[in-house]
Amino acid sequence: MSFKSEMRELGNHLQTGVSYMIPVVTAGGLLMSIGTLVGGTNVAANSFWGQVKNLGLIGLQFIPIVIAAYIAFSIADRPGLAPGFIVGVVAQKMGTGFIGGIVVGLLVGYLTKWLKKVPVPQKLVTVKALLFIPLIVTAVIGLLYIYIIGTPLKAVVDGLTGWLQGMKGANSVLLAAILGAMMAFDMGGPVNKVAYTFGMGCYAQGVYAPSTAMLLAIAIPPFIMFVATLFDKSLYSKEEIENGRTAAIMGIFGITEGAIPFALADPLRVIPSIMVGTAVSCALNAAFGVTQKTALTTLMALPFASNIILYIVSIVVGVLVGAVMVNALKKFTHHNVDQDALK
């Protein structure tokens, strides 16, 4: 297998883990945020809203465990699951978080995959699947983690988390802008995924500024294109104007991909504009210091933003900047709509 396809496969395993993690994050983060929003920050643990918050917190604790188990599952199929779950709990309890979950998933996955290939006499095949693999993998990786990997990894994770949390002023604005631009660059493509996974990783560690920026970015490109079609209909074909509306509705529900048809039809003008507009929204929001602790996207997260007015201002300004820029580029570089319609 070539190096490139090897890397591609590794990426797919990580992404499979993240894809199984998303519903955990959504349920946990939302319950925690609702509990805090209604019950107040100092909600009593045994009150109703305290229990809602607790339920959410329990959900969030599952992030490293689910990541570990499903990366292992992705690599080694079924036999990877059980050791992945068990050692995933070890990673969670040792406080190594999201990164620990990934490390466990990879170790468990590859060891299991390798053991699956080890030939055994026909009589022992069932014993191997039933006993050897779960026992050996759990014991080896679990003990390896407890005695050797866990502690130094925790130091690294704590260092990273502290550094990200301590990020203030210009650095945090820059990070938000970069994440925003990456999210808008290919809308669900490889660059977007890197930013998305990074944001989710920060979220899992309880570092909410980068995750807020990343999630805020999601609906900005479709909103930009929708507003751009409203501003100047002459620059867009009939289908594009219709597309703009659909994109905006999809954007409200956290789907960024509605802007893709615009980007495919006119990449050189559309992609830079949505990148700039999205980066502006994210940077502005970071400069205001607004965060939200749900895993919800742009507009759906609105009620949970730490300052709703400034959050809206950030969205509106970025969308306007992007929309004006894309229309100006289309107008002043002699963009011909009919040509595109013929394609």
Binding site: N12, Q15, T16, I22, S74, G189, P190, K193, E257, I260
Partner: protein, 104 residues
């Protein structure tokens, strides 16, 4: 006319999965090929490929950013593996690559 089957899946499983499926169908149809697409999105496996579908297919396209669920079903088939973005950007050449694979 080729018989193509495909599986699509992305990280969040809400948009790219279905856009890739739609694009594969569009360009396969344009090319006069027969296609059935199974989606592995946030709702799990939908439009599941039956053992007959798999047996009769000339080629399998995996348009995925994640691992294909129940991949063992496709053992021994000619497969083309690409990312969902590639299909959304240029579905035509993905279909062409897949049909080229049949005769190789």
């Amino acid at each position: 006319m080729a018989k193509i089957i495909a599986v699509t899946g992305c990280i969040a499983g809400i948009a790219h999965t279905y856009m890739a499926a739609a694009n594969l169908k569009k360009f396969a149809k344009k090319n006069g090929d027969d296609i059935k697409v199974e989606t592995q999105g946030a709702m799990g496996i939908e439009n599941r490929l039956t053992p007959d579908d798999i047996k009769n297919a000339d080629v399998v396209i995996f348009a995925v950013d994640t691992t294909v669920s129940e991949k063992e079903r496709f053992e021994g088939k000619k497969t083309l593996e690409v990312g969902t973005s590639e299909v959304i950007k240029d579905g035509e050449s993905v279909i062409k690559k897949a049909t080229d694979l049949i005769n190789s």
